[in-house]
């Protein structure tokens, strides 16, 4: 027999985001539409006494998008150490759509440090590596 459940009171309000459906694995673009990274995980605010949550405890908030090397852990299990995950604060998110658009430049984010390091220390030392192609 097919069970019918009550409709979620928020399901039709247009204010709902499902994590897997709308956020995970989405590409992130900065304010200039430059691709920055993809969303690997989400950081949610901690809850006191999570192993015995008292009734009336406020719901946790989404505080950051996380990106990092998760391919291996998705295949083999486990999770990368927190130090390997880069955070993009939810307050920096401007719009969620086909891509997640930020309200800040990618240059200011930890998520692009590897690209910046390669640019400054390797590409920049190659003759002609500090200006656009002519």
């Amino acid at each position: 027999m097919k069970r019918r459940h009550m409709l979620d009171p928020e399901a039709a309000t247009g204010r709902v985001l499902d994590a897997q459906l709308h956020l995970l694995d989405r590409q992130v673009h900065d304010v200039a539409s430059v691709p920055v990274t993809a969303v690997s995980d989400l950081e949610i605010s901690d809850v006191d006494s999570i192993q015995n949550i008292p009734p009336g405890t406020p719901a946790p908030q989404l505080i950051a998008l996380l990106s990092g090397p998760v391919l291996g852990t998705r295949i083999f299990g486990g999770r990368p150490p927190p130090s390997r995950l880069q955070r993009i604060a939810w307050s920096d998110v401007d719009e969620v759509g086909v891509v997640i658009r930020l309200a800040v430049k990618g240059e200011t984010l930890d998520a692009t440090w590897a690209e910046r390091w390669v640019r400054d220390h390797i590409i920049g030392r190659i003759p002609g590596g500090r200006h656009d192609p002519e």
């Binding site: 097919k2 069970r3 019918r4 459940h5 009550m6 409709l7 979620d8 009171p9 928020e10 399901a11 039709a12 309000t13 247009g14 204010r15 709902v16 985001l17 499902d18 994590a19 897997q20 459906l21 709308h22 995970l24 995980d41 989400l42 950081e43 949610i44 605010s45 901690d46 809850v47 999570i50 192993q51 015995n52 949550i53 009734p55 009336g56 406020p58 719901a59 946790p60 908030q61 989404l62 996380l66 999770r79 939810w90 307050s91 920096d92 998110v93 401007d94 719009e95 969620v96 759509g97 086909v98 309200a103």
Partner: protein, 119 residues
Amino acid sequence: MILSDLLGAEVYGEEPLGHVTDVRFVLEGDSSNQPMPRARLHGLIVSPHTKSSPLGFERTEIRSPWPIAQLEHWLHRDSFLVLWADIAAILPERIQLRPGFTRYSALLVKSAVPEPHFE
């Protein structure tokens, strides 16, 4: 806490109920001091038969491609949403619900993200 602590966790009431296949957030309308409103955890979508994602077929208007929609609806039959208020404990790979928790439909009628239109 990170989302991976919740996704795939086994959910228990008085008996095993299924696994968390998605986590639903709600944008709060009164937080206008930042580009996107604050997002609070609204509830967990629990599927009794699979750990896999519903691939977007929880949206009521998505019914094609028909064979995949039918397969996903069958895999996620009896899926339900439990609200944050009904969560009693979050333990490693296990979530305990309060006695008398309410099962809401996991269907998503209208989300905060505009749907792409394919011509």
